[in-house]
């Protein structure tokens, strides 16, 4: 069964920064939402969202996490 990697972003309070808190493997958007909410439940998050890793476009070409992942994917 094909799994898709979704990165998980969340903020604790209304004025806090949205930060990358982890990832989940899921087979569609619905399961990604549930897995993210149930896996990263250590905080009472004000906002949480998931995004398919393939949809993230690195802006810099440096050694950043997502740039490295994209390079590995493209090779």
């Amino acid at each position: 069964m094909r799994e898709i990697v979704y990165d998980v972003f969340a903020r604790k309070g209304r004025g806090d920064q949205l930060v990358h808190i982890g990832y989940v493997d899921a087979f569609d958007d619905e399961t990604a939402k549930v897995y993210a909410w149930k896996t990263y439940d250590e905080e009472n998050w004000f906002e949480m969202c998931v995004v398919e890793r393939d949809a993230i476009i690195p802006v810099t070409n440096g050694e950043g996490h997502f740039a490295q992942l994209k390079r590995a994917r493209d090779e």
Partner: protein, 262 residues
């Protein structure tokens, strides 16, 4: 919103009917949690196992809240939680035994947990004030269970071969007992309907069939053509039989009895 039920107006049979309703919901929640917990380490992925763990905790939290409603009837919830034999459990019969495979867990997540939510929705909209205040939060948490169950149900239904066969078999096996449980229409259930505590059986069944119809159609099961199982134990509000002894030992916390902190 309907008027609030004055418990002082309930006679003996009315109080017994409300106690039965609370117990069948609470016991079913507790057993649902056990069935999720059976799959913490056997689920198809780490994420699914973590979700099963979280859902098990949700169900046990809901059970605790439901048992505590017995205080309104001057009953001691602790005795119900920890001191009953398996033959006294009022949980819906499809949860009596461990699920044989993941497809059955998915069917239970969708059809059994969905049946609980249908009856709880009715309970939350009724005249019993404690249910009105406590059940909506349970139903909000249940949205994640429903969402995950539906996604997995669709996935297995669309799969080739064994997965679809197992899901179909589990669906056919569970539905008659669940329809009987959701659509309970014996004297105790009718007392609760007359008191405005829950909706009439026909309305509950309509809501349940509506909730699961599109999913069961994916495995060629027409929920409108499935008849409720006629086997019924009116004393407990469930089918005859009982949960496995091992499940009830876990539900009661037998191994940790000396360590209980209330």
């Amino acid at each position: 919103m309907s008027d609030v039920l004055d418990l002082e107006t309930l006679d003996g049979p009315g109080r017994a009917a409300l106690e039965r309703l609370i117990l069948t919901l609470a016991d079913s929640k507790r057993l649902m949690g056990i069935r999720y917990s059976d799959w913490l380490l056997g689920a198809p992925s780490i994420e699914t196992g973590i979700s099963a763990s979280s859902m098990a905790q949700d169900e046990w939290g809901h059970a605790r809240l439901l048992y505590s409603m017995l205080k309104d009837l001057d009953r001691d919830p602790e005795a119900y939680e920890h001191d009953r034999a398996s033959e006294a459990y009022a949980s819906v019969s499809v949860l009596d035994d461990e699920m044989p495979d993941w497809a059955a867990v998915v069917a239970a997540m969708t059809l059994a947990d969905g049946a609980l939510s249908t009856v709880l929705s009715s309970f939350a909209e009724g005249t019993f004030e404690t249910a009105r205040s406590r059940v909506p939060k349970m139903l909000a948490e249940e949205e994640f269970h429903s969402s995950l169950g539906a996604a997995w149900y669709r996935r297995l239904a669309q799969a080739e071969g064994e997965a679809r066969k197992l899901l179909t078999a589990a669906t056919r096996s569970m539905l008659p007992a669940l329809l009987a449980w959701v659509g309970a229409d014996d004297e105790a259930a009718r007392l609760m309907v007359r008191a405005g505590v829950i909706a009439p059986a026909a309305e509950r069944l309509l809501a349940y069939r509506h909730a699961v119809r599109d999913l069961t159609a994916l495995v060629d099961v027409d929920v409108d053509a499935v008849e409720p199982d006629p086997a019924w134990d009116p004393a407990r509000g469930r089918a005859p039989g009982r949960p496995s002894e091992e499940s009830v030992e876990r539900a009661r916390g037998d191994r940790n009895r000396a360590l209980f902190v209330e």
